[in-house]
Symmetry: C2
Subunit: 494 residues, 2 copies
């Protein structure tokens, strides 16, 4: 069962039909004067009007790009470029982004800012992942007055990983006061909730609303300056590099329209299903943290993290059981660091599972997942002992070698009030598992110090303390144990 | 009947089937670990192998982009960027291109060179449109030794407008000697002739081989330095911005494979059909110039220009008669200047028609076109009288006003040995039509001077002289008649 709609859904049957029809009538180059070209142009114009209406833009503000990523690249580069051309050399323009924006926004902002000698400024978020408006206001101004050095601000409509809605309307007011254009990445939101109304530029991706791959949308409000940052191209008002994929655009428009017409009904059903997941997961899976705003959220996304479980192992076990989900944990696929979203929120990063509901999912589907999940989590956690045996062996070896060394932090050392755990070289979630195993080795009021060099520990040990009501005292580097070695200090409170 | 295959064909049925199959099995994000993602990855890998085999590349040298245009942008920027990073400040890198490259190559080269403080250097072509190898060699070297300032050379496999094959293998040898990477734009050639074998980077577009919109291919040979000039993206080795459209890539691979298997048979048939068009057009349409190499050419493209006829009018009349062709003439659609290809070749630019044969065309189709063409050309030329009446009226008025002016070049003035024609403010082909009408007003050995401000006259008057065996003497500006006013001097020889 596919539960990763937020990464892109199968193409909606409506879109499939529209695509096939467009292969007959809309396959030609829409810039040509002959009949096939004119027909493609007519269809493209109709698709543009349909999409523009849904996103609350004028057709002449709306262009199609080859992907949501391209739309974001184009918007960030095009607006920044026009503003930095205008501002001249005021010390390099800044691009202000929320800390939990999609990686395409962060990469585009960093790349574009660097190219014009500026920098990206990150605005922190709450524990739920909502952008901090006071921090945003501060980033947009210098000493209380609008800063001419800020070229662009980027705030998503809703977070793609945890579903939290962003305060876009308030962000827009702050940007308007500061005279800074606001780019709203609405990729996770379009088709699921009403399109945001306040923005200078808006981006979306058809794959997220049941349209085909190969279509992004970029709307730029009249009056927003825009200077393309790529080679000259006369198509799509020069705002998208390369030709328009007319059949795919028609399919995208058909899907968006179809979804809009059912949106509120489906969203209400999804909201209930997500409520059910939130409740059942909290109740049936021990040691779990459900992340993201429980109320101000997208209807179809729910994310939770399971203590003492490895994210990739959860994904693979769920896949074996027939469920496809995604994860923001490190140690999944090619990423070695946890999701920047979870990191910015300061929540547990290991054992992470994102469930995002495809359009036609049923309550029975969700129940099947909920029936299987606790057993899968338990099985993944049960795999741990073998790993822990290896750890215990490593620790023992380290302790032995420590016996011949003067350095007291080597190995594991127990005293009345302090314990040192060696988890160096061990990946998440081992450091937290070791901490949990050994917390009772010190009396209440005593401290335990976990040596670790996996970056996820920085997130997971404080998160564990919060979940377990222990006190996290802080960290200190231990350079004599390695360049990345850090000691995390915890006080046992209960 | 669609005769503009070089702009992109309808999707091949094989590609349509592959796309529909991929919507079932290859719709998911190929970077995901679950079954749907793994299946998409397998299909994508298979498509990559198939395309790589056809283009003579290794799969790990081959990436997919959202279009042929994007592939070109990526190649030009990526290679230039890596070379200019390496070379440091040697006075700005140069990008050497043939004069008749696709506009996407010219725009990318100009944009990229400007961005790194360099420039594009254009290499002239022969009357047939083949790149001048001596000029290429000179552009690649400084005083006979390899120039470190040349970052990249771009030579297409074959010209997209007139079909002429380029001497790519010789160009490659010159580039290798000079230590300059060679980008070969093979968009017009792939699927029609064997893929070029000698290149540092190769680009193509699936639309040109019966694949879907939304797929370009970029191959970069091992050992060619490449530094992406866009925001970080882990997909497609960072060589294509944004995600891969897996279903479209599968369709593209299926189409390319199918075409390769029939290629030589179809090419032989097309070559005969083009020979027939070349012969019949020359025979049945008076005052026509067939452009491009008659032998070293793509099998499916033929281009000719009809004296005294307006390109856009030809296109529209052919469209009314049911034939869809393209034109490199100015005054078509939104362009106001003639095609840079025709201009660089120094051939007649008005009344231009490009016929490019779709895959399944029959001899009967071609004959129907050839039956209709002479009548259409005659009808378009016959429209001229009304225009010419207007011209004649304008000329008369000008002549009248000239009577009250001391300036002898005003209006039309006849003497024993010299005539001045006023075609100021008249668009192509009026200046040439006026020239043809009045050439007999001077005796053999006499001169005629055409005043014109349409840029196409610069191309068309010398071309007319060549076709008519008259001598073109040159041009001189006539600033007192307007900033763009030029007098073109012709000697009557027969």
């Amino acid at each position: 069962m596919f539960l990763d709609a937020a990464s892109g859904e199968p193409m909606d049957p409506v879109a499939r039909e529209a695509y096939l029809a467009a292969l007959e009538d809309g396959w030609a180059d829409a810039d040509r004067l002959y009949r096939e070209g004119r027909r493609a142009r007519m269809l493209l114009d109709a698709a543009r009007e349909a999409v523009a209406e849904v996103i609350g833009a004028r057709p002449d503000e709306t262009v199609f790009t080859p992907s949501g990523t391209t739309a974001i690249h184009a918007a960030v580069a095009g607006i920044t470029q026009s503003r930095s051309l205008r501002a001249g050399g005021v010390g390099g323009p800044r691009i202000v982004t929320g800390a939990v924006e999609h990686s395409a926004v962060l990469h585009a902002a960093e790349f574009t800012a660097a190219r014009v000698g500026g920098e990206r400024v990150s605005v922190p978020v709450s524990r739920y992942g909502a952008v901090d408006l006071d921090a945003l206001a501060a980033a947009l101004t210098t000493g209380g007055t609008a800063s001419p050095a800020v070229a662009l601000a980027c705030v998503q409509a809703a977070n793609h990983e945890v579903g939290t809605l962003q305060p876009v309307e308030r962000a827009w007011e702050l940007c308007a006061d500061a005279g800074v254009p606001l780019l709203v990445d609405a990729a996770a939101a379009l088709g699921r909730i009403p399109a945001p109304r306040y923005w200078s530029a808006l981006c979306g991706s058809a794959r997220k609303w049941g349209g085909p791959s190969g279509v992004g949308v970029l709307a730029v409000r009249k009056g927003t300056r825009f200077a393309p940052a790529w080679p000259e191209d006369e198509r799509e008002r020069g705002r998208s590099p390369g030709p328009v994929n007319v059949p795919a655009v028609l399919a995208a428009a058909a899907a968006l329209r179809a979804r809009e017409s059912e949106r509120d009904t489906v969203a209400a059903r999804h909201r209930e299903l997500v409520d059910r997941i939130r409740a059942r997961v909290a109740e049936s899976v021990p040691d779990v943290e459900i992340v993201g705003d429980p109320e101000r959220r997208l209807p179809h996304i729910v994310t939770f993290s399971c203590l003492y479980a490895e994210g990739e192992a959860l994904l693979l076990e769920l896949d074996k059981a027939g469920f496809s989900v995604s994860s923001g944990s490190s140690c999944t696929a090619s990423t070695l660091t946890p999701s920047h979203v979870l990191e910015s929120m300061g929540v547990l990063s290991h054992g992470n599972v994102r469930v995002s509901l495809p359009w036609g999912i049923t309550a029975e589907d969700v129940d099947r997942f909920l029936d299987v999940l606790p057993g899968v989590v338990a099985a993944v956690r049960a795999q741990a002992p073998s790993t822990l045996t290896a750890v215990a062996a490593a620790v023992a070896t380290a302790a032995e070698s420590a016996a011949s060394e003067p350095e007291p932090t080597t190995g594991q050392q127990t005293s009345a009030t302090a314990v040192v755990i060696n988890a160096l070289g061990r990946k998440c979630p081992i450091p937290v598992i070791e901490l949990a195993k050994h917390i009772d080795d010190v009396p209440i009021g005593g401290t335990i110090s976990v040596l670790a060099d996996d970056v996820a520990a920085r997130l997971d040990i404080p998160a564990w303390c919060r979940m377990r009501e222990q006190t996290y005292l802080g960290e200190e580097p231990v350079p004599e144990r390695g360049a990345d070695a850090v000691a995390y200090l915890v006080r046992r409170d209960r």
